[in-house]
Amino acid sequence: MIYFENPKDKSLNFTIENHSLSTNFHWEILADKDSVTQGNSVITNGAKKTIPVSSDGITNKKITVIITSDGNTKEIYKSL
């Protein structure tokens, strides 16, 4: 599962919690449809990792965080 650390404000820090057998997670951040940044994380089963993301200078855009692991994709988003 993935979630924003603070769901109510404009901060974009998010956490990946792994409850599956896959350990490799690829994440990508989009501003509207443009890719802003991406990365990879190795998270063992039962563990979680918080990835800090700065929202400075981002306005009037839909920020989407897409996580891919072993063919499964999840996304969360905020409209700043």
């Binding site: 599962m1 979630y3 769901p7 109510k8 999840k74 969360i76 988003y77 409209s79």
Partner: protein
């Protein structure tokens, strides 16, 4: 590992302390232990403990002591010490007085092979039900979630709960809390006592384990009741064993059996234990003319009244029809017998219990359902299609076809039975007739309750009468010294009956087994609940969906902000029920969030978090700028309404 073993040991010791000790000492202190067999004592101790814990915790809740581990344990210990002291005093007194020959005590002497058969059946029963429970032990069921919320309220606050809900008004705002009549305190107090003493979390297996234990006890209760009902029959043990066969391993899972336990139908579950015990006590009291046992029956009846309104209502009808059956069967001795009943009633024990019960109800704690609104909803012409009575086929299916077939024969044989005992016969007939009419023709009795719930109570009397018929047929075919059938045909008949019954019962078990556990999905809901509880406060309002989320009724055990928090989109058919119009906000806010009414609902209720199944309900939110998806798992997603 050690922590787990320790916590489990504490839990099981707590179960013994709460669910066995007080009842055992009550029987000891009132010196009634000699009136019952060991098995009856065992089951009665259990049932009595449930009632005693209810009354004890209510007293603690009304006192300055509050409901804490020390006060509950202290209360149980004090009560047990008092009973033990009384027992020793009277024991000493009796030893110093010239001994009066004790009356012949009924004790079931089961032969060795019968004992082995009974034990085998019990083990098979536990085995089959455990197979079902292995996939149903994880706390997910809706009813259990609702009940455990109140249990947690008691455990956390140390006070008796105020059963209240909040609903959405016509102007789309939330109304002030209003009372709920459907929750009865006895459904929560024993669980709260166990949770408080053992520190076990209510969001765990312990509630289901406790309900499973209560359910097993109810099977034993039916067994001991059958022995008592057929005490005068030379086939007493065979009938009781056959009853155990028909109610234990067969039809073991479908309602009202194991499914009621895993489904968290707490009141019904406890009612299914207490009703046979109360009948057993009334039977014994009337046959043996003992006012003390009658007082005990009344005490357990009060316990039932504090536990489950429907079971109390059903028992009242059973009692009423038993009196009618008795009057029809024994018209000549009715007046004389009535005088004998009055003698029993007007006795210190009975009047003492009645007085204590009335004082408790009117001055200490009145069960929530004893108000005109609740009574109006249960009494009257059936208001919905689901309350107009079952069809014959539905009734047959509820009873189990094979059991139903033998029970039909059994009722006929019962009417003409002469040596069973007048009270035994009256109770059996009254029990079955009351429930048959309540299930098939509730309008005759002005009963306005879901008929399938009422019909679930028919299982136990049908089982007993079916067992009676089965044994009567087999023993009639092979009377003493005469074989009406060739022994080989007799054996074949026996196996045909056995196959018919076993196939029917085991097939029912197979149908009722779950394909897969919903534990994984429920676990996702609980993780999401922890997330949202940490990141929201009382100013936020959450709306969740009941249709497509697993374990959603347990979300409120995480937030603990009220029974009606979070708001819930219920089953869709309820929004279309013309007999019971309800608010539409919870439906609009999820189904059509852009509609004008939905926006009014969002503004009026202050809803800003939505919990839904993303596979079903995310598309209507993902297009909207004001909704952020802040949490994403396989089977649950959370949206936040940013503006």
């Amino acid at each position: 590992m050690f922590d787990f073993i320790f916590s489990q040991t504490i839990l099981y010791l707590t179960l013994i302390l709460v669910l066995f000790v007080p009842g055992f000492f009550l029987i000891l202190g009132t010196r009634m232990h000699k009136e019952f067999s060991l098995l009856e004592l065992f089951v009665l101790s259990f049932g009595s403990s449930i009632a005693l814990i209810d009354f004890l915790v209510i007293i603690l809740g009304k006192s300055p002591l509050g409901i804490t581990r020390n006060s509950i344990v202290g209360g149980i210990v004090l009560f047990s010490v008092i009973c033990l002291t009384v027992y020793f005093i009277f024991n000493k007194k009796n030893n110093s007085e010239p001994s009066i020959p004790a009356p012949a005590i009924s004790s079931s002497r089961i032969k060795k092979h019968s004992t082995i058969l009974v034990i085998t059946l019990l083990l098979l029963t536990i085995f089959i039900k455990t197979i079902y429970f292995k996939d149903a032990i994880f706390p997910t069921s809706t009813d259990l979630g609702h009940h455990m919320y109140w249990t947690k309220v008691i455990a956390v606050t140390g006070e008796l709960p105020k059963y209240e809900k909040v609903e959405i008004q016509e102007d789309f705002t939330l109304e002030e809390p209003s009372p709920i009549a459907d929750f009865i305190i006895g459904e929560h107090l024993p669980f709260a006592a166990i949770a408080i003493i053992s520190s076990a979390s209510v969001i765990s297996a312990f509630p289901a384990i406790t309900l499973f234990l209560i359910h097993l006890m109810s099977v034993l209760a039916i067994f001991v009741l059958t022995q008592a009902l057929f005490k005068n029959s030379k086939h007493q043990n065979a009938i009781a064993t056959a009853t155990l066969f028909l109610v234990g391993p067969l039809w073991a899972i479908a309602s009202p059996q194991a499914k009621f336990a895993s489904g968290g139908v707490i009141g019904n579950n406890i009612g299914n234990l207490l009703i046979p015990l109360i009948i057993l006590l009334f039977l014994k009291a009337l046959i043996e003319k003992k006012s003390k046992i009658l007082a005990y029956a009344l005490f357990l009846s009060f316990g039932l009244a504090y536990t489950h309104h429907l079971s109390t209502f059903v028992f009242a009808f059973i009692f009423f029809f038993t009196i009618i059956a008795y009057a029809i069967i024994n018209p000549k001795t009715l007046l004389q017998d009535a005088k004998g009943w009055m003698k029993l009633i007007i006795s210190p024990w009975v009047l003492g219990v009645l007085t204590a019960g009335i004082i408790f109800i009117f001055f200490l704690y009145t069960p929530t359902y004893l108000n005109t609104t609740a009574i109006d909803t249960a009494v009257g012409a059936p208001s919905k299609a689901t309350r107009t009575g079952l069809t014959f086929d539905q009734f047959k299916s509820t009873a189990g076809e094979a059991r139903f077939a033998f029970a039909l024969l059994g009722i006929v044989i019962l009417f003409f039975a002469r040596s069973l005992g007048k009270y035994n016969q009256a109770f059996l007939i009254g029990w079955i007739v009351a429930l048959t009419i309540m299930s098939l023709r509730p309008n005759w009795l002005f009963v306005d309750i879901p008929s399938n719930r009422v019909a679930s109570y028919i299982v136990f009397p049908i089982t007993i009468i079916a067992a009676y018929a089965l044994i009567k047929i087999l023993t009639a075919l092979k009377s003493e010294g005469k074989n009406y059938l060739n022994p080989i045909f007799l054996l074949a008949t026996f196996f045909i009956f056995l196959s018919f019954i076993a196939t029917s019962g085991l097939y029912d078990n197979a149908l009722a087994l779950n394909d897969a556990s919903s534990a994984n999905k429920a676990l996702q809901t609980y993780n999401a609940s922890e997330y949202i509880t940490k990141r929201s406060d009382a100013k936020d309002m959450i709306l969740k969906d009941h249709n497509y989320l697993a374990g959603d009724s347990w979300i409120k055990l995480f937030t603990m902000r009220g029974y009606s928090y979070p708001l819930s989109r219920g089953y869709f058919k309820r929004y279309e029920d013309e007999t019971k119009p309800r608010e539409q906000c919870t439906n609009f806010m999820i189904s059509t969030p852009t509609a004008k009414e939905a926006k009014q609902c969002y503004d009026g209720t202050g809803t800003d978090f939505i919990m839904i199944n993303p596979k079903i309900d995310s598309s209507q939110f993902s297009r909207l700028k004001e909704f952020w998806q802040v949490y994403s798992a396989d089977d649950i997603g959370i949206f936040y309404k940013a503006n």
